[in-house]
């Protein structure tokens, strides 16, 4: 089982907090990997919030090819950061030769482009990079987006932290939103792309559980959008559904919940909006999830949200104080980071609920 966590803070945080968040939850996962996505970046990236940062792990050839592609498209590099690695003996990690975190200026052709046009360019470019690097298995492209940085690796989370020097806090690398997971996809192949958090077009998603409608979701999604690819993990489907509902259909966020866990017919029949809900249920029945899942997401505007499956079969808890909100699988993680919070304010979202954390850390509970 996965253990997932999301932290949203008023102050910049070093990614070591995500390691600490997950450490006490390790009995619930298998120590097979560690991945995090940082958003709303501080430190050395703080001055480049509007420019896209590429997060990638690659061989030398993969790095060269990716940079060539970006150069050909007209992107120009303005910042490069490489983690200092500590390849100590005995670490359980399968590192890639290069970890690339580079920030680029948009091509001149996009000088006057709209936000939507720039986003489209970044999605297209990410997909192209992934495709080109996949051909010869020379690298993994995790995100190419403004103010977002992603790291994923296979191995023991503690050792991955040691390898990248993540246990020692510093001001260079920090963010106000960090999502993390401590497990690779051990049900199937251990593949870097299978590790949460998943990122597409500004949306980040992590999930705990088993998507029993994976095949239905997958077959339906693969025709919906060019970015719905990979499917190395059954949990990627949740990202694609969120993206489809919110970004493509432009429906309010609440309809994500109505889509993945529709209300029982008996309840729909009693509602004023029953016609809309029944139509959604018919049209998007293949996006329903019907197994045990809890889902965390970060929206492009920085909001956090979490939802559960319709039977509440997987755990999730929301803990908070005045400076930080944490959503994670087990309360032990929250206790480690916020031992002095008012625990009566903790939220254990139920099966009909969506908890949304706004950018000012206001926590809203929406009932389906």
């Amino acid at each position: 089982m996965c253990r997932i966590g999301a932290i949203k803070s008023k102050k910049y945080l070093h990614p070591s907090v995500s390691l600490k968040l997950m450490r006490s939850q390790q009995k619930g996962h298998d120590n097979s990997g560690f991945a995090f996505v940082m958003q709303d970046l501080g430190g050395i990236f703080e001055d480049y919030k509007d420019l896209p940062t590429l997060s990638m792990a690659a061989t030398v050839e993969g790095t060269r090819r990716a940079e060539d592609i970006l150069h050909d498209l007209g992107f120009t590099r303005v910042l490069q950061w490489t983690p200092d690695v500590h390849n100590e003996k005995g670490l359980k990690i399968e590192p890639m030769p290069n970890y690339i975190f580079e920030t680029f200026k948009y091509p001149k052709s996009h000088k006057y482009a709209t936000k939507e046009e720039k986003e489209e360019l970044l999605v297209e470019t990410s997909l192209l990079l992934r495709k080109e690097l996949e051909k010869d298995n020379i690298g993994y492209v995790y995100s190419f987006w403004p103010d977002v940085l992603t790291l994923k690796e296979i191995g023991c989370p503690k050792d991955i932290g040691t390898y990248f020097g993540l246990w020692e806090e510093n001001d260079d690398l920090c963010a106000k939103v960090i999502t993390a997971q401590c497990r690779q996809n051990t049900n199937y192949d251990i593949v870097r792309y299978a590790a949460h958090p998943f990122f597409l077009d500004g949306y980040t998603v992590l999930a705990n559980g088993e998507n029993t409608f994976y095949e239905k979701n997958k077959l339906f999604q693969q025709k919906l959008h060019k970015g719905y690819i990979g499917f190395e993990s059954d949990s990627q489907c949740f990202l694609y559904t969120l993206h489809y509902i919110h970004k493509i259909l432009k429906w309010p966020l609440e309809y994500f919940k109505h889509t993945i866990t529709p209300l029982p017919f008996e309840e729909i029949e009693r509602r004023q909006d029953k016609d809309v809900l029944l139509r959604i249920k018919a049209s998007l029945g293949h996006l329903e999830i019907n197994g045990p899942n809890s889902i965390l997401a970060v929206m492009p505007d920085g909001k956090l949200l979490c939802v559960c499956d319709s039977k509440k079969l997987r755990p999730i808890v929301v803990g908070r104080d005045e400076n930080m909100v944490i959503m994670t699988s087990e309360v032990t993680g929250v206790n480690d980071l916020m031992p002095r919070r008012n625990i009566s304010q903790d939220i254990y979202p139920h099966e009909r609920e969506m908890v949304i954390v706004d950018n000012d850390l206001t926590v809203r509970r929406w009932q389906q």
Binding site: N187, G209, E210, T212, F213, Y214, E215, K216, L219, F220, Q222, K223, L224, Y244, I248, L249, K250, W251, P252, E254, Y255, P264, F265, D273, D275, V276, L278, R279, I280, K281, A282, S283, L284, G285, H286, E288, N290, G291, P292, S310, K311, L313
Partner: protein
């Protein structure tokens, strides 16, 4: 003249021979009275009394039961004689040396006709080679079939993709801003589609009662298809018509009355099913022999007493596009675009082409695609059609589903599969497997008759539905025979069967961890047959 008439029809030519024990027989006459086929009769035999051969012979006369040997009166193996015999003195026994199908053609110069299903059984049942093999064990929890809530409903009617629903955001709430094709959520099993005429009015009424009871009392939103033979006007004008799917086929039987009753209807029907073909006799029209066209059948259908032969095609329709524009549009218009209009075709190599066409229809007015496989039943067909034409349902259903997947339009025209479902007793298992392969639901007909008391099977037992002499009172309009059918009891049995099916569907959904119908969830299925695995794109296991 030959001493031995080998060219005459003989008892040994017949499919069944009567085994009769005169020592047990009390000559009550019940067996001959019960035999609707007139296949046995009492006769007086003169027998020589025992005694020395040297003595002058003396004879006695004795009444015995004799099997009739003729094309009009021969034993179908229904066994009604043994049902009524107080002493077990008589029963039909399958004749292994049967050569009746040869003799009939040779003697009559006619095509042999029968009811029921194909009796060749050459294909085997693909569905039985499939198991539900993806069981929730630790990765996710199995559910509890008796404690969890399950959602056994499926859409019936054209479904539009989400981006075409015309939903508009009004202060964070989505509103419907345009009229959409009619769509209803129904139980994933449809009773159907057998006409008044093909079955007795008592059988039909029992199905209608069961449908109403399942809906009104048990809350199981099952729908019943009328078959092509109309519907009693009183039912048409009642609120219960909302549970009925009205069928129109090439004979248009019954539609004059339906159209005349429209102004007085208080509810819309559940749907309209345009029958193009039937799995049991694809490419062949309906066949109702004159001896089943009773007075009330004539009235409902508006026809004289004659053999009623529906043409093999809808006259005037020569292409898929044309049928959409003419027939579907007019049926939609007739009910003010408020009632789903679906199509039923016999499974065929061409099914995917038809389905693809309908999915791309720009009017979005085809509300369901019913595929009927070759193992389906019929009230009457030429044996040649029944045994030698058709296409199995399983792979064709899968083909259609995957064709929709290829277009990214799965679910837009709900798929319903039928033809031989419940043949081995469990409708739930067959339904569940087909749903996992992509069906939105299934339909069943012959099974309902067997629930009602039909003793026919797929091993040449009875299958005389075409004769109008159904010994169970099901496929007949003979007043004496129909009296054998207890309407209330049949309705109760049907209700019971569907209650059991409902539970059994849950018993299959629970172990795969699903509370909603796993439509298209083929990863839940495995098969021990490599060819089946390859053809259906499911996991091979051994």
């Amino acid at each position: 003249m030959a001493a031995v008439g080998v060219n005459e029809l003989h008892k040994d030519d017949l499919p069944w021979v009567i085994e009769y024990d005169e020592t047990k027989c009390i000559r009550c006459g019940k067996c001959t009275a019960a035999c609707s086929f007139g296949a046995i009769k009492p006769v007086v035999e003169e027998r020589r009394k025992s005694g020395s051969i040297a003595q002058k012979p003396s004879f006695e006369k004795i009444v015995v039961i004799e099997q009739c040997v003729s094309h009009s009166n021969y034993c179908r193996g229904c066994g009604m004689c043994s049902y009524v015999c107080p002493n077990g003195a008589i029963k039909p026994v399958r004749n292994k040396d049967d050569r009746y199908s040869i003799r009939y053609r040779a003697d009559k110069g006619e095509s042999l006709k029968k009811g029921g299903r194909s009796n060749l059984n050459t294909e085997g049942r693909t569905l039985d080679k499939i198991k539900i093999g993806r069981i929730s064990q630790m990765t996710d929890p199995s559910l509890d079939a008796t404690r969890h809530t399950f959602e056994l409903r499926t859409p019936f009617g054209r479904v539009l993709s989400a981006d075409k629903l015309g939903l508009e955001n009004s202060n964070g709430k989505l509103d419907l801003t345009s009229s959409l094709p009619p769509n209803r959520w129904i139980y994933p099993v449809i009773m159907g589609d057998m006409s008044i005429g093909a079955v007795s009015w008592r059988m039909w009424e029992a199905m209608a009662i069961a449908t109403a009871y399942l809906n009104e009392v048990l809350g199981i939103p099952i729908r019943m298809c009328t078959g092509e033979g109309g519907i009693p006007v009183r039912l048409l004008k009642s609120k219960y018509v909302k549970y009925m799917i009205l069928q129109i086929a090439s004979g248009h039987f019954g539609w004059n009355r339906i159209i005349q009753a429209m102004p007085d209807m208080v509810e819309d029907p559940a749907g309209i099913l345009i029958k193009i073909g039937q799995g049991a006799k694809p490419g062949d029209g309906g066949l109702l022999m004159a001896n089943k066209v009773a007075k009330y059948v004539q009235e409902i259908r508006g026809v004289p007493k004659a053999d009623l032969l529906s043409p093999p095609t809808h006259q005037g329709l020569y292409s898929i596009e044309e049928s959409v524009q003419k027939m579907f549009l007019s049926m939609n218009a007739a009910f003010k675009f408020k009632v789903p209009v679906a199509i039923k075709v016999a499974a065929s190599v061409t099914s995917v082409a038809v389905y693809n066409n309908l999915l791309r229809d720009p009017y979005n007015i085809v509300g369901g695609f019913f595929l009927d496989g070759l193992a389906g039943g019929t009230g009457a067909a030429h044996e040649i059609s029944l045994n030698h034409t058709g296409h199995p349902i399983t792979s064709k259903l899968r083909d259609c589903y995957l064709a929709a997947v290829h277009q990214g339009r799965q679910g837009e025209i709900p798929l319903f599969a039928g033809g031989g479902l419940g043949q081995t007793g469990s409708l739930a298992a067959d339904a569940f497997k087909l749903i996992c392969l992509g069906a939105n639901g299934v339909f069943t007909g012959r099974l309902l008759l067997q629930i009602a008391g039909c003793i026919g099977n797929d091993l040449e037992k009875c299958n005389a539905c075409n004769t109008g002499l159904c010994p169970a009172g099901i496929a007949t309009q003979d007043m004496c025979l129909t009296k054998r059918l207890d309407i209330d009891k049949v309705a109760q049995n049907l209700v019971n069967y569907f209650v059991a099916t409902d539970l059994e569907l849950k018993k299959l959904m629970a172990p795969v961890g699903n509370s909603a119908l796993p439509i298209g969830r083929s990863d839940a299925l495995v098969t021990v047959d490599k060819h089946v695995a390859q053809r259906l794109d499911i996991q091979y296991v051994c």
